[in-house]
Protein backbone atom coordinates (compact mmCIF):
# COMPACT_ATOMS: atom_id res chain seq x y z
CA UNK A 1 0.00 0.00 0.00
CA UNK A 2 1.94 3.04 -1.24
CA UNK A 3 0.82 6.46 -2.32
CA UNK A 4 2.08 5.74 -5.83
CA UNK A 5 -0.32 2.84 -6.27
CA UNK A 6 -3.16 4.76 -4.68
CA UNK A 7 -3.44 7.04 -7.71
CA UNK A 8 -3.75 4.17 -10.12
CA UNK A 9 -6.85 3.81 -12.21
CA UNK A 10 -10.06 2.28 -10.97
CA UNK A 11 -9.49 -0.75 -13.15
CA UNK A 12 -6.62 -1.75 -10.88
CA UNK A 13 -9.01 -3.03 -8.28
CA UNK A 14 -6.52 -4.37 -5.78
CA UNK A 15 -4.54 -1.14 -5.70
CA UNK A 16 -7.78 0.90 -5.71
CA UNK A 17 -9.13 -1.00 -2.72
CA UNK A 18 -5.92 -0.55 -0.80
CA UNK A 19 -5.95 3.12 -1.58
CA UNK A 20 -9.48 3.47 -0.30
CA UNK A 21 -8.61 1.73 2.94
CA UNK A 22 -5.61 3.99 3.36
CA UNK A 23 -7.72 7.09 2.85
CA UNK A 24 -10.25 5.77 5.36
CA UNK A 25 -7.36 5.11 7.75
CA UNK A 26 -6.54 8.82 7.59
CA UNK A 27 -10.15 9.66 8.43
CA UNK A 28 -9.93 7.27 11.38
CA UNK A 29 -6.87 9.13 12.69
CA UNK A 30 -8.80 12.41 12.49
CA UNK A 31 -11.62 10.78 14.44
CA UNK A 32 -9.21 9.62 17.12
CA UNK A 33 -7.94 13.20 17.46
CA UNK A 34 -11.52 14.35 18.05
CA UNK A 35 -12.30 11.54 20.49
CA UNK A 36 -9.24 12.47 22.54
CA UNK A 37 -10.90 15.85 23.15
CA UNK A 38 -14.31 14.46 24.17
CA UNK A 39 -14.71 15.27 27.89
CA UNK A 40 -16.42 12.03 28.92
CA UNK A 41 -13.76 9.96 27.17
CA UNK A 42 -11.01 12.05 28.76
CA UNK A 43 -12.52 11.32 32.18
CA UNK A 44 -12.75 7.64 31.28
CA UNK A 45 -9.09 7.68 30.29
CA UNK A 46 -7.83 9.39 33.43
CA UNK A 47 -10.03 7.34 35.76
CA UNK A 48 -12.28 10.15 37.02
CA UNK A 49 -15.33 9.02 35.08
CA UNK A 50 -18.47 8.54 37.19
CA UNK A 51 -21.42 6.22 37.11
CA UNK A 52 -23.49 9.24 36.14
CA UNK A 53 -21.20 9.77 33.13
CA UNK A 54 -21.71 6.18 32.02
CA UNK A 55 -25.49 6.42 32.40
CA UNK A 56 -25.52 9.67 30.40
CA UNK A 57 -23.39 8.12 27.68
CA UNK A 58 -25.75 5.15 27.33
CA UNK A 59 -28.74 7.47 27.44
CA UNK A 60 -27.34 9.62 24.63
CA UNK A 61 -26.20 6.67 22.51
CA UNK A 62 -29.52 4.86 22.74
CA UNK A 63 -31.46 7.47 20.82
CA UNK A 64 -29.10 7.04 17.86
CA UNK A 65 -28.76 3.25 18.14
CA UNK A 66 -32.51 3.01 17.51
CA UNK A 67 -31.96 4.75 14.15
CA UNK A 68 -28.99 2.60 13.11
CA UNK A 69 -30.74 -0.38 11.61
CA UNK A 70 -33.43 1.93 10.16
CA UNK A 71 -31.14 3.98 7.94
CA UNK A 72 -29.30 0.84 6.88
CA UNK A 73 -32.65 -0.74 5.92
CA UNK A 74 -33.57 2.41 4.02
CA UNK A 75 -30.26 2.28 2.21
CA UNK A 76 -30.90 -1.38 1.35
CA UNK A 77 -34.20 -0.46 -0.28
CA UNK A 78 -32.44 2.11 -2.47
CA UNK A 79 -29.84 -0.22 -4.02
CA UNK A 80 -30.91 -1.33 -7.50
CA UNK A 81 -30.31 -4.76 -8.97
CA UNK A 82 -26.88 -3.74 -10.27
CA UNK A 83 -25.84 -3.27 -6.64
CA UNK A 84 -27.34 -6.53 -5.45
CA UNK A 85 -24.35 -7.47 -3.24
CA UNK A 86 -24.52 -4.17 -1.38
CA UNK A 87 -28.28 -4.55 -0.96
CA UNK A 88 -27.86 -8.08 0.45
CA UNK A 89 -25.13 -6.94 2.81
CA UNK A 90 -27.22 -4.01 4.05
CA UNK A 91 -30.33 -6.14 4.63
CA UNK A 92 -28.25 -8.64 6.63
CA UNK A 93 -26.61 -5.87 8.58
CA UNK A 94 -29.90 -4.16 9.43
CA UNK A 95 -31.40 -7.43 10.60
CA UNK A 96 -28.42 -8.12 12.86
CA UNK A 97 -28.58 -4.72 14.50
CA UNK A 98 -32.24 -3.98 14.93
CA UNK A 99 -32.40 -5.40 18.46
CA UNK A 100 -29.17 -3.81 19.73
CA UNK A 101 -30.98 -1.11 21.67
CA UNK A 102 -32.50 -3.79 23.90
CA UNK A 103 -28.99 -4.70 25.07
CA UNK A 104 -28.28 -1.08 25.84
CA UNK A 105 -31.58 -0.79 27.73
CA UNK A 106 -30.78 -3.87 29.81
CA UNK A 107 -27.43 -2.35 30.82
CA UNK A 108 -29.09 0.94 31.68
CA UNK A 109 -31.66 -0.78 33.90
CA UNK A 110 -28.99 -3.00 35.51
CA UNK A 111 -27.23 0.22 36.51
CA UNK A 112 -30.35 1.51 38.24
CA UNK A 113 -31.61 3.67 35.38
CA UNK A 114 -35.24 3.88 34.36
CA UNK A 115 -36.25 2.16 31.12
CA UNK A 116 -39.20 4.53 30.79
CA UNK A 117 -36.99 7.61 31.07
CA UNK A 118 -34.50 6.13 28.62
CA UNK A 119 -37.22 5.47 26.08
CA UNK A 120 -38.64 8.95 26.57
CA UNK A 121 -35.26 10.50 25.75
CA UNK A 122 -34.50 12.62 22.70
CA UNK A 123 -31.45 12.77 20.49
CA UNK A 124 -28.79 15.30 21.40
CA UNK A 125 -27.72 17.87 18.81
CA UNK A 126 -24.92 15.63 17.54
CA UNK A 127 -27.23 12.64 17.24
CA UNK A 128 -29.82 14.79 15.43
CA UNK A 129 -27.21 15.87 12.91
CA UNK A 130 -25.87 12.35 12.49
CA UNK A 131 -29.28 10.72 12.02
CA UNK A 132 -30.48 13.49 9.73
CA UNK A 133 -27.42 13.14 7.51
CA UNK A 134 -27.60 9.34 7.41
CA UNK A 135 -31.34 9.14 6.61
CA UNK A 136 -30.95 11.76 3.88
CA UNK A 137 -27.97 9.93 2.41
CA UNK A 138 -29.76 6.57 2.63
CA UNK A 139 -32.66 8.01 0.60
CA UNK A 140 -30.47 8.54 -2.47
CA UNK A 141 -30.38 5.95 -5.22
CA UNK A 142 -27.53 3.46 -4.65
CA UNK A 143 -26.07 5.17 -1.56
CA UNK A 144 -22.78 3.27 -1.64
CA UNK A 145 -21.03 6.15 0.10
CA UNK A 146 -22.64 4.91 3.33
CA UNK A 147 -19.94 2.27 3.45
CA UNK A 148 -17.86 5.15 4.83
CA UNK A 149 -20.40 5.68 7.63
CA UNK A 150 -20.29 1.99 8.44
CA UNK A 151 -16.49 2.04 8.45
CA UNK A 152 -16.59 4.67 11.19
CA UNK A 153 -19.52 3.37 13.26
CA UNK A 154 -18.61 -0.30 13.08
CA UNK A 155 -14.98 0.61 13.62
CA UNK A 156 -15.89 2.37 16.85
CA UNK A 157 -17.78 -0.70 17.95
CA UNK A 158 -15.04 -3.11 16.98
CA UNK A 159 -12.00 -1.14 18.08
CA UNK A 160 -13.14 1.09 20.91
CA UNK A 161 -16.38 -0.09 22.57
CA UNK A 162 -14.86 -3.08 24.37
CA UNK A 163 -11.95 -0.92 25.57
CA UNK A 164 -14.44 1.59 26.92
CA UNK A 165 -16.44 -1.20 28.57
CA UNK A 166 -13.35 -2.66 30.25
CA UNK A 167 -12.30 0.77 31.47
CA UNK A 168 -15.76 1.56 32.82
CA UNK A 169 -15.70 -1.79 34.62
CA UNK A 170 -12.27 -1.08 36.02
CA UNK A 171 -13.03 2.42 37.26
CA UNK A 172 -16.60 1.89 38.45
CA UNK A 173 -16.50 -1.75 39.58
CA UNK A 174 -19.18 -2.95 37.18
CA UNK A 175 -20.31 -6.49 36.42
CA UNK A 176 -20.27 -7.89 32.88
CA UNK A 177 -24.06 -7.61 32.91
CA UNK A 178 -23.76 -3.84 33.11
CA UNK A 179 -21.56 -3.39 30.02
CA UNK A 180 -23.20 -5.90 27.65
CA UNK A 181 -23.92 -3.37 24.92
CA UNK A 182 -20.35 -2.23 24.55
CA UNK A 183 -18.68 -5.63 24.91
CA UNK A 184 -21.11 -7.23 22.47
CA UNK A 185 -20.13 -4.74 19.82
CA UNK A 186 -16.53 -5.78 19.84
CA UNK A 187 -17.50 -9.16 18.43
CA UNK A 188 -20.47 -8.17 16.31
CA UNK A 189 -18.90 -5.09 14.78
CA UNK A 190 -15.63 -6.92 14.34
CA UNK A 191 -17.52 -9.34 12.08
CA UNK A 192 -19.26 -6.47 10.28
CA UNK A 193 -15.94 -4.70 9.78
CA UNK A 194 -14.50 -7.84 8.23
CA UNK A 195 -17.49 -8.14 5.89
CA UNK A 196 -17.15 -4.50 4.89
CA UNK A 197 -13.44 -4.64 4.24
CA UNK A 198 -14.12 -7.52 1.89
CA UNK A 199 -16.57 -5.29 0.00
CA UNK A 200 -14.20 -2.32 -0.01
CA UNK A 201 -11.43 -4.42 -1.52
CA UNK A 202 -13.62 -6.53 -3.79
CA UNK A 203 -13.39 -4.41 -6.93
CA UNK A 204 -17.03 -3.32 -6.69
CA UNK A 205 -15.94 0.21 -5.81
CA UNK A 206 -14.97 2.64 -8.57
CA UNK A 207 -13.01 5.87 -7.99
CA UNK A 208 -16.06 8.10 -7.79
CA UNK A 209 -17.70 5.81 -5.26
CA UNK A 210 -14.46 5.66 -3.28
CA UNK A 211 -14.51 9.46 -3.06
CA UNK A 212 -18.08 9.35 -1.80
CA UNK A 213 -17.19 6.73 0.81
CA UNK A 214 -14.29 8.79 2.11
CA UNK A 215 -16.40 11.96 2.22
CA UNK A 216 -19.22 10.20 4.04
CA UNK A 217 -16.73 8.75 6.54
CA UNK A 218 -15.36 12.25 7.21
CA UNK A 219 -18.81 13.68 7.90
CA UNK A 220 -19.91 10.75 10.05
CA UNK A 221 -16.67 10.78 12.05
CA UNK A 222 -17.18 14.43 12.88
CA UNK A 223 -20.86 14.05 13.72
CA UNK A 224 -20.29 10.95 15.84
CA UNK A 225 -17.70 12.77 17.92
CA UNK A 226 -20.11 15.70 18.14
CA UNK A 227 -22.72 13.33 19.55
CA UNK A 228 -20.30 12.34 22.31
CA UNK A 229 -19.39 15.98 22.98
CA UNK A 230 -22.97 17.19 23.20
CA UNK A 231 -24.30 14.84 25.88
CA UNK A 232 -27.83 15.80 26.93
CA UNK A 233 -27.91 18.98 24.84
Amino acid sequence: MTSATSTDSATDTAAGGASLLERLGDVWLELEDHLAKVPVLQRLDDGTVTLEDYLRLLFNLRQQVIDGSLWIARAASNFDIDHFELRAAAIKHAEEEHRDHFLLEADYVALGGSRAELRAGRKNVGSEALSGYLFTYASRPNPAGLLGAMFIIEGLGARRAAQWAARFQEVLGLADNQVHFMTYHQEADGAHTGDMEAILTSGLIDDATADEIVRCAQVVARLYALQLEELDR
Binding site: G113, Q169, A175
Partner: protein
Protein backbone atom coordinates in the same frame (compact mmCIF):
# COMPACT_ATOMS: atom_id res chain seq x y z
CA UNK B 1 -13.05 -13.86 32.36
CA UNK B 2 -16.23 -12.94 34.13
CA UNK B 3 -16.15 -9.69 36.03
CA UNK B 4 -18.60 -9.14 38.84
CA UNK B 5 -19.61 -6.00 40.64
CA UNK B 6 -19.22 -5.51 44.35
CA UNK B 7 -22.04 -5.34 46.85
CA UNK B 8 -22.27 -2.70 49.56
CA UNK B 9 -24.63 -2.26 52.47
CA UNK B 10 -25.69 1.37 52.20
CA UNK B 11 -28.80 1.68 54.36
CA UNK B 12 -29.77 0.24 57.73
CA UNK B 13 -33.09 0.09 59.52
CA UNK B 14 -34.80 -1.64 62.38
CA UNK B 15 -38.18 -1.68 64.00
CA UNK B 16 -38.91 -2.79 67.53
CA UNK B 17 -42.64 -2.70 68.36
CA UNK B 18 -44.03 -1.11 71.46
CA UNK B 19 -42.17 0.10 74.52
CA UNK B 20 -39.34 -1.97 76.04
CA UNK B 21 -40.75 -4.71 78.25
CA UNK B 22 -38.81 -5.68 81.36
CA UNK B 23 -38.78 -9.10 82.95
CA UNK B 24 -41.82 -8.44 85.10
CA UNK B 25 -43.72 -7.14 82.09
CA UNK B 26 -43.10 -10.41 80.20
CA UNK B 27 -45.37 -12.49 82.42
CA UNK B 28 -48.07 -9.84 82.25
CA UNK B 29 -48.15 -10.17 78.47
CA UNK B 30 -47.40 -13.85 77.95
CA UNK B 31 -49.03 -15.30 81.07
CA UNK B 32 -47.59 -18.35 82.79
CA UNK B 33 -47.56 -16.94 86.29
CA UNK B 34 -47.99 -20.25 88.11
CA UNK B 35 -45.22 -21.14 90.54
CA UNK B 36 -43.49 -23.75 88.37
CA UNK B 37 -43.49 -21.63 85.23
CA UNK B 38 -42.35 -18.61 87.21
CA UNK B 39 -39.41 -20.57 88.61
CA UNK B 40 -38.37 -21.80 85.15
CA UNK B 41 -38.75 -18.29 83.76
CA UNK B 42 -36.51 -16.68 86.33
CA UNK B 43 -33.92 -19.40 85.86
CA UNK B 44 -33.86 -18.95 82.09
CA UNK B 45 -33.76 -15.16 82.36
CA UNK B 46 -30.92 -15.31 84.83
CA UNK B 47 -28.75 -17.21 82.38
CA UNK B 48 -29.72 -15.55 79.11
CA UNK B 49 -29.06 -12.06 80.45
CA UNK B 50 -31.92 -10.40 78.54
CA UNK B 51 -33.14 -7.41 80.58
CA UNK B 52 -35.65 -5.96 78.15
CA UNK B 53 -37.23 -6.78 74.82
CA UNK B 54 -40.16 -5.71 72.63
CA UNK B 55 -43.48 -7.32 71.80
CA UNK B 56 -46.13 -6.52 69.24
CA UNK B 57 -48.61 -7.17 72.06
CA UNK B 58 -50.48 -4.68 74.17
CA UNK B 59 -50.37 -4.78 77.95
CA UNK B 60 -53.20 -7.34 77.89
CA UNK B 61 -51.26 -9.63 75.60
CA UNK B 62 -53.31 -8.88 72.49
CA UNK B 63 -51.48 -8.50 69.15
CA UNK B 64 -51.00 -4.95 67.88
CA UNK B 65 -49.25 -5.52 64.57
CA UNK B 66 -48.56 -8.11 61.90
CA UNK B 67 -45.15 -9.59 61.24
CA UNK B 68 -45.30 -8.11 57.73
CA UNK B 69 -45.91 -4.69 59.28
CA UNK B 70 -42.77 -5.01 61.38
CA UNK B 71 -40.88 -5.95 58.23
CA UNK B 72 -42.20 -2.98 56.27
CA UNK B 73 -41.34 -0.56 59.07
CA UNK B 74 -37.77 -1.84 59.28
CA UNK B 75 -37.49 -1.69 55.47
CA UNK B 76 -38.87 1.83 55.39
CA UNK B 77 -36.34 2.86 58.01
CA UNK B 78 -33.50 1.37 55.92
CA UNK B 79 -34.76 3.04 52.72
CA UNK B 80 -35.09 6.38 54.53
CA UNK B 81 -31.60 5.93 55.94
CA UNK B 82 -30.33 5.52 52.36
CA UNK B 83 -32.61 8.21 50.98
CA UNK B 84 -34.38 6.05 48.41
CA UNK B 85 -37.93 4.80 47.85
CA UNK B 86 -39.43 1.32 47.47
CA UNK B 87 -39.68 1.99 43.73
CA UNK B 88 -35.87 2.07 43.59
CA UNK B 89 -35.64 -1.59 44.65
CA UNK B 90 -35.29 -4.40 42.11
CA UNK B 91 -35.13 -7.25 44.61
CA UNK B 92 -36.44 -8.00 48.07
CA UNK B 93 -35.42 -11.00 50.14
CA UNK B 94 -37.15 -11.70 53.43
CA UNK B 95 -36.42 -13.99 56.34
CA UNK B 96 -38.77 -15.04 59.07
CA UNK B 97 -39.47 -18.11 61.13
CA UNK B 98 -43.23 -17.84 60.81
CA UNK B 99 -45.11 -15.42 58.58
CA UNK B 100 -48.56 -14.17 59.44
CA UNK B 101 -50.20 -16.52 56.97
CA UNK B 102 -49.41 -20.01 55.68
CA UNK B 103 -49.63 -18.99 52.05
CA UNK B 104 -48.32 -17.03 50.14
CA UNK B 105 -44.68 -16.41 50.93
CA UNK B 106 -43.64 -13.76 53.44
CA UNK B 107 -41.76 -11.74 50.79
CA UNK B 108 -44.93 -11.53 48.69
CA UNK B 109 -46.87 -10.14 51.63
CA UNK B 110 -44.13 -7.68 52.55
CA UNK B 111 -43.79 -6.48 48.94
CA UNK B 112 -47.54 -6.01 48.72
CA UNK B 113 -47.56 -3.88 51.84
CA UNK B 114 -44.35 -2.00 51.01
CA UNK B 115 -45.34 -1.09 47.46
CA UNK B 116 -42.75 0.08 44.94
CA UNK B 117 -42.48 -1.43 41.46
CA UNK B 118 -41.92 -4.86 39.97
CA UNK B 119 -39.13 -6.72 41.73
CA UNK B 120 -37.60 -10.13 42.30
CA UNK B 121 -38.62 -11.78 45.57
CA UNK B 122 -37.22 -14.46 47.82
CA UNK B 123 -38.80 -15.75 51.02
CA UNK B 124 -35.98 -17.45 52.89
CA UNK B 125 -37.36 -19.86 55.45
CA UNK B 126 -35.64 -21.35 58.45
CA UNK B 127 -34.75 -19.79 61.74
CA UNK B 128 -31.91 -17.47 62.74
CA UNK B 129 -29.59 -18.00 59.76
CA UNK B 130 -32.36 -17.45 57.21
CA UNK B 131 -31.53 -13.73 57.39
CA UNK B 132 -28.04 -14.50 56.13
CA UNK B 133 -29.43 -16.72 53.36
CA UNK B 134 -31.62 -13.80 52.29
CA UNK B 135 -28.64 -11.43 52.41
CA UNK B 136 -26.53 -13.86 50.38
CA UNK B 137 -29.20 -14.02 47.67
CA UNK B 138 -29.45 -10.27 47.20
CA UNK B 139 -25.68 -9.78 47.42
CA UNK B 140 -25.17 -12.45 44.75
CA UNK B 141 -27.63 -10.88 42.33
CA UNK B 142 -26.14 -7.44 42.86
CA UNK B 143 -22.64 -8.79 42.24
CA UNK B 144 -23.80 -10.45 39.04
CA UNK B 145 -25.06 -7.11 37.82
CA UNK B 146 -28.61 -8.43 37.54
CA UNK B 147 -29.92 -5.81 39.94
CA UNK B 148 -28.44 -2.45 40.91
CA UNK B 149 -30.19 -2.33 44.24
CA UNK B 150 -32.09 -4.64 46.58
CA UNK B 151 -33.14 -4.90 50.20
CA UNK B 152 -33.10 -7.61 52.80
CA UNK B 153 -35.40 -7.75 55.80
CA UNK B 154 -35.57 -10.23 58.62
CA UNK B 155 -38.63 -10.01 60.83
CA UNK B 156 -39.99 -12.05 63.69
CA UNK B 157 -43.21 -11.93 65.67
CA UNK B 158 -43.15 -15.09 67.84
CA UNK B 159 -44.89 -13.48 70.83
CA UNK B 160 -48.37 -14.45 69.61
CA UNK B 161 -47.48 -18.10 69.93
CA UNK B 162 -45.67 -17.70 73.25
CA UNK B 163 -48.80 -16.73 75.16
CA UNK B 164 -50.25 -19.02 77.82
CA UNK B 165 -53.15 -20.24 75.69
CA UNK B 166 -50.70 -22.24 73.56
CA UNK B 167 -49.40 -23.96 76.66
CA UNK B 168 -52.74 -24.85 78.21
CA UNK B 169 -53.84 -28.45 78.36
CA UNK B 170 -50.55 -30.30 78.16
CA UNK B 171 -47.55 -30.65 80.40
CA UNK B 172 -44.79 -28.48 79.00
CA UNK B 173 -41.25 -29.59 79.68
CA UNK B 174 -38.06 -27.60 79.50
CA UNK B 175 -37.95 -27.97 75.70
CA UNK B 176 -41.24 -26.03 75.46
CA UNK B 177 -40.36 -23.42 78.08
CA UNK B 178 -36.90 -22.50 76.92
CA UNK B 179 -37.73 -20.35 73.90
CA UNK B 180 -40.80 -18.85 75.52
CA UNK B 181 -38.62 -16.70 77.77
CA UNK B 182 -35.98 -16.10 75.12
CA UNK B 183 -37.74 -14.86 72.04
CA UNK B 184 -39.34 -11.51 71.30
CA UNK B 185 -40.41 -9.39 68.34
CA UNK B 186 -38.57 -7.09 65.97
CA UNK B 187 -37.28 -6.56 62.45
CA UNK B 188 -34.02 -5.42 60.86
CA UNK B 189 -33.27 -4.46 57.27
CA UNK B 190 -30.38 -3.47 55.01
CA UNK B 191 -30.12 -1.94 51.54
CA UNK B 192 -27.64 -3.61 49.15
CA UNK B 193 -26.16 -1.77 46.14
CA UNK B 194 -23.36 -2.24 43.61
CA UNK B 195 -21.83 1.13 44.46
CA UNK B 196 -20.96 2.51 47.88
CA UNK B 197 -23.05 5.27 49.42
CA UNK B 198 -22.15 8.51 47.61
CA UNK B 199 -21.50 10.63 50.69
CA UNK B 200 -20.88 8.46 53.74
CA UNK B 201 -19.48 5.14 54.92
CA UNK B 202 -20.72 1.85 53.48
CA UNK B 203 -20.09 -1.77 54.40
CA UNK B 204 -18.64 -3.78 51.50
CA UNK B 205 -19.66 -7.44 51.61
CA UNK B 206 -16.42 -9.39 51.21
CA UNK B 207 -17.96 -12.86 51.50
CA UNK B 208 -20.86 -14.80 52.95
CA UNK B 209 -20.65 -18.48 53.88
CA UNK B 210 -23.50 -20.65 55.07
CA UNK B 211 -23.34 -24.35 55.88
CA UNK B 212 -25.84 -26.87 57.20
CA UNK B 213 -24.84 -29.90 59.25
CA UNK B 214 -28.34 -31.38 59.18
CA UNK B 215 -26.88 -34.54 57.67
CA UNK B 216 -25.17 -35.17 60.97
CA UNK B 217 -27.66 -33.85 63.53
CA UNK B 218 -31.23 -34.42 64.59
CA UNK B 219 -33.78 -31.60 64.72
CA UNK B 220 -33.09 -29.23 67.59
CA UNK B 221 -35.51 -26.27 67.38
CA UNK B 222 -38.91 -27.11 65.98
CA UNK B 223 -42.65 -26.64 65.81
CA UNK B 224 -45.35 -28.60 64.03
CA UNK B 225 -44.13 -32.12 64.67
CA UNK B 226 -44.51 -34.65 67.42
CA UNK B 227 -41.37 -35.94 69.10
CA UNK B 228 -37.94 -35.08 67.75
CA UNK B 229 -38.10 -36.79 64.37
CA UNK B 230 -40.53 -36.49 61.49
CA UNK B 231 -42.57 -39.44 60.34
CA UNK B 232 -45.58 -39.89 58.11
CA UNK B 233 -48.67 -38.93 60.05
CA UNK B 234 -46.66 -37.10 62.69
CA UNK B 235 -46.80 -33.50 61.50
CA UNK B 236 -49.39 -30.87 62.24
CA UNK B 237 -50.69 -31.22 58.69
CA UNK B 238 -51.52 -34.90 59.17
CA UNK B 239 -53.83 -34.65 62.15
CA UNK B 240 -56.90 -32.66 63.16
CA UNK B 241 -55.85 -29.16 64.18
CA UNK B 242 -57.48 -29.54 67.61
CA UNK B 243 -55.46 -32.72 68.16
CA UNK B 244 -52.28 -30.98 67.07
CA UNK B 245 -52.99 -28.18 69.53
CA UNK B 246 -53.79 -30.64 72.34
CA UNK B 247 -50.52 -32.46 71.68
CA UNK B 248 -48.61 -29.19 71.97
CA UNK B 249 -47.44 -29.40 68.36
CA UNK B 250 -47.78 -25.65 67.83
CA UNK B 251 -45.36 -24.82 70.61
CA UNK B 252 -41.88 -23.80 69.59
CA UNK B 253 -39.48 -26.25 71.19
CA UNK B 254 -35.77 -26.48 71.69
CA UNK B 255 -33.86 -29.62 72.63
CA UNK B 256 -31.67 -27.80 75.14
CA UNK B 257 -29.47 -30.86 75.58
CA UNK B 258 -28.11 -30.34 72.07
CA UNK B 259 -27.05 -26.73 72.53
CA UNK B 260 -23.54 -27.46 73.75
CA UNK B 261 -22.98 -29.50 70.57
CA UNK B 262 -24.33 -26.57 68.57
CA UNK B 263 -21.85 -24.18 70.15
CA UNK B 264 -18.94 -26.54 69.53
CA UNK B 265 -20.02 -27.13 65.91
CA UNK B 266 -20.22 -23.37 65.38
CA UNK B 267 -16.74 -22.87 66.74
CA UNK B 268 -15.46 -25.63 64.45
CA UNK B 269 -17.01 -23.83 61.48
CA UNK B 270 -15.32 -20.60 62.52
CA UNK B 271 -11.99 -22.42 62.88
CA UNK B 272 -12.40 -23.71 59.34
CA UNK B 273 -12.89 -20.17 58.02
CA UNK B 274 -9.67 -19.19 59.76
CA UNK B 275 -7.84 -22.24 58.37
CA UNK B 276 -8.84 -21.55 54.77
CA UNK B 277 -7.93 -17.90 55.18
CA UNK B 278 -11.34 -16.26 54.80
CA UNK B 279 -11.05 -14.89 58.31
CA UNK B 280 -7.80 -13.09 59.00
CA UNK B 281 -7.47 -13.22 62.75
CA UNK B 282 -4.89 -10.41 62.65
CA UNK B 283 -7.49 -8.09 61.20
CA UNK B 284 -10.82 -8.56 62.89
CA UNK B 285 -12.01 -5.24 64.20
CA UNK B 286 -15.63 -5.94 65.05
CA UNK B 287 -17.46 -9.17 65.80
CA UNK B 288 -21.25 -9.24 65.80
CA UNK B 289 -22.37 -12.69 66.80
CA UNK B 290 -25.98 -13.70 67.22
CA UNK B 291 -26.54 -15.88 70.24
CA UNK B 292 -29.60 -16.61 72.29
CA UNK B 293 -28.06 -16.36 75.70
CA UNK B 294 -25.05 -14.90 77.41
CA UNK B 295 -23.94 -18.44 78.23
CA UNK B 296 -23.13 -18.90 74.54
CA UNK B 297 -21.57 -15.46 74.35
CA UNK B 298 -18.95 -16.61 76.85
CA UNK B 299 -18.38 -19.92 75.05
CA UNK B 300 -18.00 -18.21 71.67
CA UNK B 301 -15.85 -15.41 73.01
CA UNK B 302 -13.48 -17.85 74.74
CA UNK B 303 -13.17 -19.83 71.50
CA UNK B 304 -12.33 -16.73 69.48
CA UNK B 305 -9.83 -15.61 72.03
CA UNK B 306 -7.96 -18.89 71.58
CA UNK B 307 -7.31 -17.84 67.97
CA UNK B 308 -7.07 -14.13 68.66
CA UNK B 309 -5.40 -13.63 72.04
CA UNK B 310 -5.59 -9.86 71.62
CA UNK B 311 -9.37 -9.87 71.09
CA UNK B 312 -10.92 -7.64 73.70
CA UNK B 313 -14.54 -7.22 74.63
CA UNK B 314 -14.62 -3.76 73.04
CA UNK B 315 -14.56 -5.33 69.59
CA UNK B 316 -17.51 -7.53 70.43
CA UNK B 317 -20.94 -6.06 69.85
CA UNK B 318 -24.28 -7.42 70.95
CA UNK B 319 -27.54 -5.84 71.99
CA UNK B 320 -29.17 -9.04 73.17
CA UNK B 321 -29.63 -7.71 76.70
CA UNK B 322 -31.61 -4.64 75.62
CA UNK B 323 -33.29 -5.66 72.33
CA UNK B 324 -33.95 -9.30 73.11
CA UNK B 325 -33.49 -12.36 70.94
CA UNK B 326 -35.42 -11.69 67.76
CA UNK B 327 -34.28 -14.82 65.91
CA UNK B 328 -33.42 -14.13 62.27
CA UNK B 329 -33.83 -10.37 62.82
CA UNK B 330 -31.24 -10.21 65.59
CA UNK B 331 -28.16 -9.96 63.38
CA UNK B 332 -29.55 -6.98 61.41
CA UNK B 333 -30.89 -5.29 64.56
CA UNK B 334 -27.42 -5.57 66.10
CA UNK B 335 -25.68 -4.43 62.89
CA UNK B 336 -27.99 -1.42 62.63
CA UNK B 337 -27.24 -0.34 66.19
CA UNK B 338 -23.50 -0.82 65.76
CA UNK B 339 -23.70 1.23 62.56
CA UNK B 340 -25.89 3.98 63.95
CA UNK B 341 -23.83 4.45 67.08
CA UNK B 342 -20.69 5.15 65.03
CA UNK B 343 -18.59 2.12 65.91
CA UNK B 344 -17.14 1.68 62.43
CA UNK B 345 -14.17 3.43 60.78
CA UNK B 346 -12.97 3.11 57.15
CA UNK B 347 -10.79 0.06 56.58
CA UNK B 348 -12.13 -1.88 59.54
CA UNK B 349 -13.63 -5.33 59.15
CA UNK B 350 -16.84 -6.63 60.66
CA UNK B 351 -17.48 -10.34 61.15
CA UNK B 352 -21.11 -11.43 61.33
CA UNK B 353 -21.76 -14.86 62.82
CA UNK B 354 -25.15 -16.57 63.09
CA UNK B 355 -25.50 -20.08 64.45
CA UNK B 356 -28.93 -21.60 63.94
CA UNK B 357 -30.14 -24.39 66.18
CA UNK B 358 -33.04 -25.47 63.90
CA UNK B 359 -31.03 -28.36 62.52
CA UNK B 360 -27.51 -27.06 62.89
CA UNK B 361 -26.84 -24.31 60.36
CA UNK B 362 -24.12 -21.69 60.53
CA UNK B 363 -23.70 -18.50 58.59
CA UNK B 364 -20.82 -16.04 58.58
CA UNK B 365 -20.10 -12.90 56.63
CA UNK B 366 -17.24 -10.45 56.49
CA UNK B 367 -17.85 -6.78 55.80
CA UNK B 368 -15.29 -4.04 55.27
CA UNK B 369 -16.03 -0.42 56.10
CA UNK B 370 -15.41 1.76 53.04
CA UNK B 371 -15.42 5.51 52.59
CA UNK B 372 -17.19 7.12 49.63
CA UNK B 373 -14.59 7.20 46.85
CA UNK B 374 -16.38 9.56 44.52
CA UNK B 375 -18.88 11.62 46.47
CA UNK B 376 -19.92 13.49 43.35
CA UNK B 377 -20.11 10.46 41.06
CA UNK B 378 -22.42 7.76 42.27
CA UNK B 379 -26.03 7.87 41.28
CA UNK B 380 -28.43 8.60 44.06
Amino acid sequence: MTTTARAYLTGFGRYLPGPPVDNDGMAARLGGDDAVTARIRSSILASNGIRQRHYALDEHGEPTELNEELAVKALTAALDDRGIAPSDLRMLATATTLGDVLVPGFANMVHGRLGGGPMQLLSASGVCASSMAALDAVVSKVRLGDHPRGAVVASELPSRSLRQRRYDGFRAGMDAHFLRWMLSDGAGAVVVEFQPHPTRLSLRVDWIRQVSLAHDHAVCMRAGMSGDATHVGGTWQDVALADAQAAGMFVLRQDVGMLDDLAQAGIAQFEELVDIGLVDVRHLDHVICHYSTNVFRDVAFDALRRRIPTLDTDRWFSNLETRGNTGSASIFIALEEAWRTGRFQPGETVLLAVPESGRFSFAFAQLTVVAPTRPQGASS
